[in-house]
């Protein structure tokens, strides 16, 4: 029997040829994208969202109507397709519903996306700082988070809005203040585990700065988390804005959001159901879209699965 001048020892636990390694690229993003594409619900959700966004941007430009002009001759019209007519009907003040719903989508999406991004960014900054610095600072920062957890935010926000008026900016701030706690916790956990894993070894062995090492490993993880949590926070934010509108604290007339339209439509539910159903449908579609997309992103990017 010939002796093989082998290099690596074939230990009994040598890595078997995994079925996955053979086929295609397995970069972090390529892999994730492929998994996302395979998830039909996520793709459907994403397409619906894309459709809504495109419609919201484009349709108002194509329509002869705008969202604020009153038309006393055409109050409460029911939907009717056909050139020159109000395709989705009109509301209590004769304004074209289609255009208003599209504007509503714009505002809701804007509020949702901006507020969630702000939330997520605050949370990420807080969490990474706490995790990286560690020690007493970490303890203090996370105690702060714990304390804030118990504060009944929503009542505070209501009071804020009642007292200080209904600026759009204030809405962003109020909403953002509520949701950053969870993200801060998760990001801090990730930073801590990374720190204990890589930092000590790397700093000792290679002399490369620990900070660079952490960044290199942390950033891909963080981007994933930011994407996932943004997508999942947006529906919450949109619904919260709807809640504020219901209380009369949302965006001011004549500007409207889906939430306001739904809130108004609820009071007219019995007589003019289309005023409720149409914005509610769009609202549900957007929320469904974000939920399924967010779930799909989480499944595709979840570091646990690696």
């Amino acid at each position: 029997m010939t002796q093989a001048a082998a290099s690596a020892a074939t230990s009994p636990t040598s890595a078997p040829g995994t079925p996955g390694a053979a086929a295609g690229s397995s970069s972090l993003w390529g892999d994730a994208w492929r998994r996302l594409k395979a998830n039909r619900a996520a793709m459907a959700g994403g397409s619906v969202l894309l459709l809504c966004i495109v419609a919201a941007l484009v349709l108002p430009l194509l329509s002869p109507y705008d969202y604020y002009t009153l038309d006393w001759n055409h109050l409460y019209q029911t939907p009717a397709l056909g050139a020159g007519w109000h395709w989705l009907g009109t509301d209590a003040l004769g304004r074209d519903l289609l255009v208003r719903v599209m504007w509503g989508c714009r505002i809701s999406l804007l509020v949702g996306i901006v507020a969630s991004l702000v939330t997520v960014i605050i949370g990420v900054l807080w969490g990474t700082t706490a995790g990286y610095v560690g020690g007493r600072t970490d303890g203090l920062m996370m105690r702060f988070v714990d304390v804030l957890y118990s504060v009944p935010f929503i009542p505070f926000v209501i009071v804020l809005m009642v007292l200080f008026g209904r600026e759009l900016l204030l809405i962003f701030v109020a909403i953002g203040a509520v949701s950053w706690l969870d993200i801060a916790r998760i990001v801090r956990g990730q930073t801590l585990s990374l720190k204990s894993r890589e930092f000590v070894e790397a700093a000792r062995v290679s002399g490369v700065g620990g900070f660079t090492m952490i960044l290199r490993h942390l950033v891909p993880n963080l981007i994933g988390i930011v994407i996932i949590y943004s997508t999942l926070t947006i529906p919450t934010v949109i619904l919260f804005e709807a809640f504020l509108s219901f209380l009369g604290l949302g965006v001011q007339s004549p500007m409207t959001s889906l939430g306001s339209m739904v809130a108004d439509g609820t009071s007219q539910m019995q007589s003019y159901p289309h005023l409720l159903i149409i914005p509610a449908l769009f609202l549900a579609a957007i929320i469904y879209g974000f939920n399924y997309l967010g779930d799909g992103l989480r499944d595709a990017l979840d570091p646990r699965d690696r």
């Binding site: 029997m1 010939t2 002796q3 093989a4 001048a5 082998a6 690596a8 020892a9 074939t10 009994p12 636990t13 040598s14 890595a15 078997p16 040829g17 995994t18 079925p19 996955g20 390694a21 053979a22 086929a23």
Partner: protein, 331 residues
Amino acid sequence: MDPTAPLLEVANLSVEYRTQRGVVRAVGGMDFTLAEREFLGVVGESGSGKSQLLLALLGLSAPGAAVHGSIRYRGTELVGAGPRALNQLRGNRISMVFQDPMTALNPYLTIGQQLVEVLRLHRQLSRADARSRAAAILEAVHISEAQRRLKQYPHELSGGMRQRAMIAMALVCEPEILLADEPTTALDVTVQAQILTLLRELRERMGTAVILVTHDLGIVAELADRVAVMYAGRCVEDADVRTLFADGQHPYTRALAASLPRLEGPLPERMFTIPGNPPNPARLPPGCSFAPRCAYVHERCLLAPPPLTVIGPGHRKACYLDGLPPIAGAP
């Protein structure tokens, strides 16, 4: 169930999975029998399908698996048997011990609860009787203070004790067959030795037949009566333990034996290793699976996988090669 029929007969057993990347064959065409009180060691590398083999024997393959072939326990066919029939055998006549006791035991139930439920299920004992039987089996596996341990949770026990507890759970109904999936791999070396001694002792006392799956040839050499060598889901050689180590006829067996470091004799410059890597179960070569790494490969080996043929009393191999000399310096 026929008490006179052979204990376990496995014929042409295969386990396949459909995946996104094609059909993965974890186990292909396994044939062997297990006699009463026999200790069969199944050896192979990771990915050779040995764990999948054990799971298939108890019908525990993952939900997407296609299991074909025949598994006869005392004449009763197990492949395709319904859950109720299988549940009567599991834990009762055929038991299994898993690799990592920390994850294989339920952390939310006490040891006592997990022992008692097996007894009450298969032996219809009262709670009190079951508890005393449970304490007795814990003592039999050398866990001291059995009564106290019964009330403890798995995480309160050491690794070795947990594995003993799992062995206790498997043996408490005195099964005829014990399946052990790498029971010592997750343990420290000193604890390994204790567990192996325990297995030998219990087996002698209870007369249980054992199928022990491992990648460690040393364990097999110490405990087994017979050994089956698995490669890429197939059995490539089986023989009684002495013959296998002294006169293994399959090149893979030889290579494995040669990979064992020796205590006597001069130290080699380099440790012997088998070149190459095990094949991808989703893309197996058309001929003999070992051919790409075999030192004796012929053209014939690449055309079709060699069948398992008898070459001596109780000795079979799957190889086209005719006769290799006995291994030099074998015990």
